[in-house]
Amino acid sequence: MNLEEYRTVFAVTSLLLTLIVAAPIIRMLIPIPTQTEQFSELWILGPDHTARDHPFNVRVNETHRIFVGVGNHMGYPAYYMVLVKFRNRTQPLPDSLSSMPSPLPPIYEFRAFISDGATWEAPLNFAFLEVSRLGDSFLVRQMSINDVVFSVNCTSDWDSEISGFYYQLFLELYLYDTLLHEFRYENRFVGIWLNATT
């Protein structure tokens, strides 16, 4: 090697060492953006914390338990709201294509602050308290969720194909948007079908 080549080796080595030593301050001044997908999870588990044995046949005054869970993968601590809604087969569900929640009024709600990468779970106990059957029509007048009684007045007609009076208890997930300063529907919902029996 001649002197010019030695000079290049010295210069490159010095530059590398300088970059290594200055790396912490460079990292502080120029934050490296993390390219991870941001999303939220919403789930319902059965009474034994598994994805099976969800309640289906519901009799009057019979209390059932499920667990509501939310997972945060947004990259920051998130503030969530879960709305509980109740409907029959003809009433509208949320529209996934337009990211619109169901227009039905909520009957119960949960609030949760979840760290990034963490999950949150809460029990949801429900029961039909007052029902009536008139021929091919079934009416749930009152139901309770976590010991709070609600008037729902929801009618379901007999479905001969699936032999039952079907209702759905479903949950919608909302995330607090710090720019809009309000909750935004996260386009996530889950539900369980219930067959009402007297």
């Binding site: 010295f10 010095s14 060492l17 200055a22 503030y79 609030r111 602050f113 760290s115 709070v148 710090t178």
Partner: protein
Amino acid sequence: MPTYRSFLIFTVLFALALSVFPFEACAADAEEAALAIERAEGIMFSCYQVVLETESAGEEVSVLLARLNEAGVLLAQARVSYGVGDFNGAARFADLCYETGVEVRHEAYDLRHLAVEEATQRFRWTLIGSIVGVTIIVCASFVSWLTFKRYYYRRILAMKPEVVSGES
């Protein structure tokens, strides 16, 4: 007869008062409960904002989030109670949520202040360390290069021309 008439008027007025006053009281309760819920919502949003800033400054916020969750449960209960017409319960839960929220916000402000101070200190020391480190490396490289160059020239000058046999 006048006694009977005055009694009748009094009864009618009393009945009217009974029908109007409970309604007004109920309306006032509903309004108060709604205001309490709105106030609680406001404190929760502001708390969350401060917690986010604290987390961005590099501080651990899991304890604050746990406290906020307690307040969140109270707020949800307040809203549910309001929905079923239990305005007293709604106002009570909302006030409890507000009180918890105020405490959490106070703690979050303290923690954020601490986090910002720590971050400033960390930045200052990192900057000083980097400047010192870079200066040392630049000086050391320069001195090494001069030393090496001197050694290189000395070695070159010490070399003797080699005579290869068989060449013309």
